[in-house]
């Protein structure tokens, strides 16, 4: 196996070097895994084992009580509701925003590659730059705008915000993907009388699976993990999970229940981790395809 593997790479290395390579690689794996693993382990301990014990030790008294408490009982904000309602807020916010931005990104990418018009590059450049702005620059006017339209503090407002600031990235992904799609196929379909939407639905969309996955994963991760917009534009009824978690962890009243905080942090991490583990191959491929490179 090793012999076969080493024939198709130009770099050769000896046994000692290889042992060293594996050692370093595994040490780094430990570095990335440990913080989260320790957090999981400590979320299953009673509080006195955390404050009095060793964080590296396994629980002597395994318990799921912190998980139950974080989900449905912990004091977040004014009410002792646990993180559950905020978890749902995040879902209700993320799902429509992901679908909307992906759908429009696909259409935009299609137009920008297969129906180019004069100035298409300028339009794309403007969309592209919008991905990278520091969102601090839009916070004040956005707060005003949401207020004027009665969307302040609502989930609808957050969906709009995430949709708008997600279009740049989704357009970029679909544009790069469709750029590699043979234009001759489209011209042929046109000659056969297929119109703009027919070509999109029948020819491009059916072969867009991988890039739709990338767009979904990227958008979902970004929107679920967003904190700035949630902290700026949500009220208690629409606060997303990240903001609620931060409130829970930073709250200064009472005893700091670390085990409950950890369980809460894991709840906040589960959806994106799940997406990454289940669809990770596409995610890595998407990253490797390069966010800017075509």
């Amino acid at each position: 196996m090793m012999a076969i593997a080493s024939t198709d790479t130009a770099i050769r290395s000896g046994r000692v070097t290889r042992t060293f390579l594996y050692l370093v690689l595994l040490l780094f794996a430990l570095f990335y895994l440990l913080p989260f693993a320790i957090m999981v382990m400590n979320s299953m301990k009673p509080l006195d084992e955390i404050t009095g014990g060793n964080m590296m030790a396994f629980p002597t008294d395994w318990t799921l009580e912190p998980w139950r408490k974080a989900w449905s009982e912990a004091q977040v904000g004014v009410d002792a509701t646990g993180l559950r309602p905020y978890f749902y807020n995040s879902l209700i916010m993320a799902i429509p925003a992901v679908m909307l931005s992906t759908f429009f990104g696909a259409l935009n990418g299609y137009v920008l590659t297969k129906w180019q018009f004069r100035g298409h590059n300028i339009v794309f450049g403007l969309l592209l730059f919008s991905c990278f702005i520091p969102f601090q620059i839009v916070l004040i006017p956005m707060a005003r705008m949401l207020g004027i339209f009665g969307l302040a503090g609502s989930t609808g407002g957050l969906i709009l915000v995430h949709f708008v600031y997600g279009i740049g990235f989704t357009t970029l992904y679909f544009r790069n993907y469709y750029a590699a799609f043979p234009t001759e196929l489209i011209r042929a379909a046109q000659i056969d009388g297929a119109g703009f939407f027919r070509i999109f639905w029948r020819i491009l969309l059916p072969s867009s699976g991988p890039i739709i996955a990338v767009s979904f994963i990227w958008q979902f991760t970004n929107i679920w993990n967003d904190f700035l917009f949630g902290a700026s534009f949500a009220d208690f009824s629409s606060q997303p999970m990240t903001v609620a978690l931060n409130n829970l962890v930073q709250s200064s009243t009472g005893v700091k229940e670390y085990n409950v905080h950890f369980a809460g942090a894991i709840y906040a991490a589960i959806p994106t981790l799940l997406v990454y583990i289940v669809a990770g191959r596409y995610f890595v491929r998407g990253l490797m395809a390069g966010s800017v490179k075509g």
Partner: protein, 297 residues
């Protein structure tokens, strides 16, 4: 066959349709991105306090901003943070990518492990590290329990060192991303050139120094651009990890902007700090994106 008038109408519709489809997105971006930027720039020249107000004050906010000690601290913290964060992430990313590129048997699993922190929210990362670094119950405490009683690691509580804990957590979160970019670059290098160089007796070290790493220039550039823009935007991590403290030791421009605008009711100054952040990012991103788009044609 359709008659010419019909064909004409159809073609004209087909010509308009793509632009019509693109129009809503484009209009939204024009308004919500560029319109809002213009509005914030305008506010930065006004006497806005708790609410936007339209009394023109010229450059006064900028003059005030640059005289504020708070802002100077935030900017110098950002400089320290950005340099270390970009440098260390790139270094670790490059090393891991080169090591992984040696036909490592468990490459897939390792890549997954290196990259998973990217899927986490900075609030989760901050919560985990805040506690790991807490001298009372975290690493220091553990070392004491293990018998190393003189071990001391209280950076997160020490205003001279707290900024390095932000670097540590941020590197943990995104060095895997740098690894992915470098690995993609490495996979794009032609093996034939390397084999030829080997025939000429080049050592592995020479191969990397002379041929491979110079060919990774685009990957270095992408990593720099992406990481630097993440650094300038850093907000959540600081909020979750240190809250900007102790004192102002980990205050960054992003946290400065938020507190001046929304809690200190100095909207004019907050807006001017946001403008400075935008200009900094634009100075990095615009030439890069311009070059990328040019190259494509």
């Amino acid at each position: 066959m359709a008659d010419t008038a019909q064909v004409d109408l159809r073609t004209r519709l087909q010509n308009w349709l793509p632009k019509l489809v693109l129009a809503p997105s484009f209009a939204m971006v024009l308004l919500f991105v560029y319109g809002f930027i213009a509005f914030t720039v305008y506010l930065s020249f006004t006497d806005s306090r708790i609410l936007p107000s339209y009394g023109w004050v010229g450059l006064e906010n900028y003059e005030k901003l640059f005289r504020l000690r708070h802002w100077k601290i935030a900017v110098s913290n950002l400089a320290v943070f950005a340099i270390l964060y970009i440098g260390i992430s790139s270094l670790i990313g490059l090393m891991l990518a080169i090591f992984l590129d040696q036909k490592i048997r468990i490459e897939g699993a390792l890549r997954t492990v290196y990259l998973y922190p990217m899927a986490l929210s900075f609030i989760v990362t901050g919560t985990a590290w805040k506690w790991l670094l807490d001298p009372g119950i975290g690493l220091e405490h553990t070392m004491h329990l293990w018998g190393w009683t003189t071990f001391s690691f209280d950076w997160i509580k020490n205003s001279d060192y707290a900024i390095y804990t932000v670097v540590l957590a941020a590197v943990w979160q995104s060095s895997g991303f740098a690894m992915a970019m470098f690995l993609a670059g490495l996979r794009g290098i032609d093996n034939e050139i390397l084999k030829a160089a080997q025939m000429d007796g080049a050592s592995n070290w020479q191969l990397y120094r002379r041929i491979i790493i110079p060919q990774l220039r685009p990957a270095f550039l992408s990593a720099f651009v992406i990481l630097s823009h993440l650094a300038i935007k850093s907000y959540d991590l600081v909020i979750a990890l240190t809250g900007g403290g102790p004192g102002r030791a980990t205050e960054l421009p992003a946290t400065f902007m938020y507190s001046y605008t929304f809690t200190r009711n100095q909207m004019g100054i907050g807006a001017s700090s946001a403008v400075i952040m935008l200009i900094t990012i634009a100075a990095i991103m615009v030439p890069y994106l311009y070059a990328e788009l040019k190259e494509k044609k």
